[in-house]
Symmetry: C2
Subunit: 305 residues, 2 copies
Amino acid sequence: MTSLKMSEPVQIAAVQFSCSPDPAKNLARAIELTRNAAAKGAKIVCLPELFLTRYFCQTEDPSNYELAEPVPGPTSAVFESLSAELGVSIVLSLFEKRAEGLYHNTACVVDPKRGYLGKYRKMHVPDDPLFMEKYYFAPGDLGVKVFETQGIKVAVLICWDQWFPEAARIATLMGAQVICYPTAIGWQPYEQESHGTAQYEAWETIQRSHAVANGCFVVAVNRTGFEPTSPAGSYPDGIQFWGQSFIAGPDGAILNQASETEEGVVLASIRPKAISEQRHGWPFLRDRRTDVYSVLTQTFLDENP
Amino acid sequence: MTSLKMSEPVQIAAVQFSCSPDPAKNLARAIELTRNAAAKGAKIVCLPELFLTRYFCQTEDPSNYELAEPVPGPTSAVFESLSAELGVSIVLSLFEKRAEGLYHNTACVVDPKRGYLGKYRKMHVPDDPLFMEKYYFAPGDLGVKVFETQGIKVAVLICWDQWFPEAARIATLMGAQVICYPTAIGWQPYEQESHGTAQYEAWETIQRSHAVANGCFVVAVNRTGFEPTSPAGSYPDGIQFWGQSFIAGPDGAILNQASETEEGVVLASIRPKAISEQRHGWPFLRDRRTDVYSVLTQTFLDENP
């Protein structure tokens, strides 16, 4: 039965928007755009990273821990109902409170019939100026997760995970046909002129490369808009999120893409047969040298450790 | 002393040309273009895959085994002398005869002062229509190799290896600052119109992604020209090699590139400081989840193995 299903295309949507300081507004916006995506025929909808709030990791402030909630919890319950109502599956990025003093950057998947399917906790946690995530998020301890929904195997990885070919490969070895990357990435306005193009291109390139290396679909979902570093701050002290959410096919070609500033829905058809066509043309999975890859578990192969 | 040297830029050259049916002509052409590269200031020169011959793997023909030679051997000796004369290091791709009935797709590096530095044997061996390499080449058994020459740590991987992020990552963990990919890749004219752009873009994307993921330089060196499948054959029965050799910086940006048909030298400056600048901006090596990567040694993570 699974193999029959595998030939049916499924529409997937990346939902891009700008996040306000008001979580209630962001929740309403996410619901509105999920409805739009469903109306356009999407069966799987992917929301951006931590879309309920501004990207609070620009500073280290313990009061932000109050933004966290359990997963599953109140927000996933809202989207479970929405999922059942619309008949769409939803990939949902949330700030997870696991225990007092233990928080994760988490994403879960809800399915119209089966409700909450499970969660993934971001494994690769960044820490750079204005992206101080190691302060807020303990590294994920669930490994890579793949969720079957709408007859499609969906891996969910989160933002910084997108720079690590290892994570995409593991998802593929677990059978993922689509890898979704809820993301919050942008330019620091000071470096946009000098490094902006190279940074954006590197981001697009690495994610398209996961599609190529693995012969799978990739969905990159980013937020847009400018967010100041401090609540009362203004441009250029903050992050200019670069939008440009896109969906790539298993040959790495971009099937559809939003602009830098556009808010809305990016749609593409997940055609499972495109995966076998690509992998039959270039059968990389056949030729991996698993006998030499064990050193990938090392941090570095020092000459003098 | 190494750390002082690390800040000195070194020019590297990718040499692209069309290979004739006559090995003596190809040898002369490789020598001529290596001289040109040296005259333009290159200190490291990388030649395309199996440049001494036409790409004979389009068919399975035991008489082609006679094209193989020991490595080190007669051709590496020629380039050792050239290297010493010109003061340039050379990355040299050869069809290696290891024993009767045991052959490899091999690359070696020669250094102007130290001569033959060692060899790498292609680990990932393709086998597709017109690229029947599994017939000719036993999979490499030397692992990933990094050679220090001209004060730069150079990893040599070969063609099909370029599709495997695992190989580039291992090279990086071994300290590689540059990864060179001698290559012979092209279009089957029958599919050039339908798949040509996507195939080329996938090739460029995956190699630029290795630069991005690893914060290192990447040199992709391809041949150009049309080669018929049979000696007496003609277009479109054969491979149209797509040239477009390029050098990418550690941010993935292409620094210099040849056209599809151009024969000659693509030069770029390897500036080791660009590696630390890139890695300080996006410190991926800091954040790898080595605790979850051991499954990369599996062929597939079957639900029911």
